[in-house]
Symmetry: C2
Subunit: 338 residues, 2 copies
């Protein structure tokens, strides 16, 4: 099959690789109908995290079941499905506790930017759609495989309170989905820290009530002013850098929690400040399968359109351009059509 | 008045110092009837945190109101009161949100190991007793000025679930109060990590169902075994060292929270592990005034006897011996009688 492969920093290709095959009775093969590039794919692309040269990349996709293992009984070839980026059995103690991203049988999609993807633990992971989706809904359904549940997880981890004030640090696709999550959860003030006009527009469409373009101390001072000197009731840290984390703690009111979902890179947590201000930190890899049914309801009912984060669609063959566009911040998030 | 003063590492004296005087209409002077030494007093005593040579020390006390400022209307001379170590107006936005330890008018008791203490924000801070307390209750009432609410805060911050499994790291007075808190909150399994027999006995009396004497990896492995490989539903970190924090994260199950109340000294938080396991951290200086009414009810109703953490009572004049006994771990916590 054709799939996106990473060969070195900045070296993205679409290569011919072996088709995935069932390796266990709990597996399924999904023919990808839509994939995309994640902000976290940019870390290895930039050479800032390890990868094996020549390996496939891409963990988000939507597709049609092609083949299932003998223990997969709820899905059959032809079913349209959303594929959570992290695969789980949905029955272990961690899954039952709602932490499917720590499943004892955890797996990952590894060729979501390709023609086919192997899904381990298909029975516990996949979520079936009612037939082929309306093409207009495809971006939003694709967003449910990772980016939207990740923004949602930040909001859940931060404990966004109805009627409260929320700050979202980061205006990438995850941050924008965090804005959407906070808004759907009923926050009264949603302050998006964003300085890019195209992103500000989506943030506003997603429910942001305030935009703060300044960063660092200046940005924190603006948030303090908006919150009457008190700080935010909940803060969503959607980047993963030390600077973003510092801003998050600077704007959090005493007793609040920073929800973090950006894979941390070079982050040193300010434990003294956390103690002094009683500001907590909670988050991590999103338990996508936990949130999927609820988020799917929101999308199908038209209460949520996270697909707006895709501002560029390219054929799979142009995966390299997709990465460049995101790396250079010309695109927020790129949808790839195999 | 006579008060305990710290002059250098290990140099504790009982000195003649000026009586505290009302400095603001919101102040009160309390004649101390019982004070004590806190584990956190040992940091400056050991030269491990800054202090001004010759300054008074001690932030926990019980006493009788001696004098009140003009804006203090709910208390008058002769009232028996519990003095929260952190003073608050109990009306600002942070107090109303239950974070009295971040009050915009925050104050601290600074001569609790002396004859008199100045209480700023007396109206919002003090809690009145119904006359002179039964001498048998004095230790437990004194414990409500800091150590018990601090253990309670660790349990609240960690989100101890009814019927759940809780690990308490640290068998100092705070850790023991954490055990008591988890037990009163209805935890089914309370695992106390303690290797000192006298402390193990109190932990058991406070409701610990399991004792783990081993530390580090070995201790974590024992906890894992007790929890069926899953880890604890809530972890109370009651020490403040890097080692204790490491143990806390090692035994926390995915999705759980570490509640921390030990002033952090040399702690580097494992942000990667927190992300990977979705384990949160929350805590800080306890909002004592928030918990006081509920905890006082528990003590007066006989449901809680945190005073058992005091295993040595000395006259104020022997404050130096009190510090030595705690520093050398001959005593868990020492009550000082002025």
């Amino acid at each position: 099959m054709r799939a996106t492969t990473l060969h070195g920093p900045g070296d993205i290709r679409v290569s011919e690789v072996p088709d995935p095959v069932l390796q266990s009775p709990t597996d399924a093969i999904v023919k990808v109908t839509a994939g995309c590039v994640c902000g976290s794919d940019l870390w290895p692309y930039r050479g800032e995290s390890d990868f094996e040269a020549g390996s496939t990349i891409g963990h988000e996709c939507l597709g049609v079941v092609e083949e299932v293992g003998s223990e997969v009984t709820s899905f059959r070839p032809g079913d349209h499905v959303i594929v959570p980026f992290c695969h789980c059995d949905n029955t272990c103690a961690h899954c039952v506790a709602g932490v499917q991203s720590a499943c004892t049988n955890l797996g990952m999609t590894t060729s979501g930017q390709g023609e086919y993807a192997l899904v381990t633990q298909a029975e516990g992971s996949l979520v079936k759609l009612d037939g082929a989706p309306d093409p207009a809904l495809v971006p939003s359904l694709l967003a449910l495989s990772d980016v939207m549940p990740t923004g949602w997880h930040a909001a859940v981890a931060a404990g966004v309170p109805e009627g409260g004030t929320v700050v979202v640090v980061g205006d990438g696709a995850v941050g924008l989905c965090g804005v959407l999550a906070a808004s759907v959860m009923g926050a009264e003030k949603v302050i998006a820290m964003s300085r890019h006009e195209s992103r500000q527009q989506i943030a506003t469409a997603f429910g942001a009530t305030h935009l703060v373009a300044a960063r660092g101390r200046e940005g924190a001072a603006e948030v303090k002013e908006i919150t009457g000197g008190i700080g935010a009731d909940a803060v969503l840290e959607c980047v993963g850098t030390g600077e973003a984390m510092g801003t998050a703690f600077a704007v959090a009111r005493p007793g609040s929690t920073v929800g973090f979902v950006g894979v941390p890179h070079g982050v040193e947590l300010p434990v003294g400040r956390m103690f002094q201000k009683n500001v907590g930190l909670r988050g991590g890899m999103a338990p996508v399968r936990r949130y999927l049914p609820e988020l799917l309801d929101h999308v199908l009912a038209g209460r949520m359109d996270p697909g707006r984060v895709f501002d560029l669609t390219l054929p799979l063959d142009q995966a390299a351009e997709a990465y460049r566009a995101m790396d250079e911040r010309r695109a927020i998030k790129v949808l790839l059509e195999p």
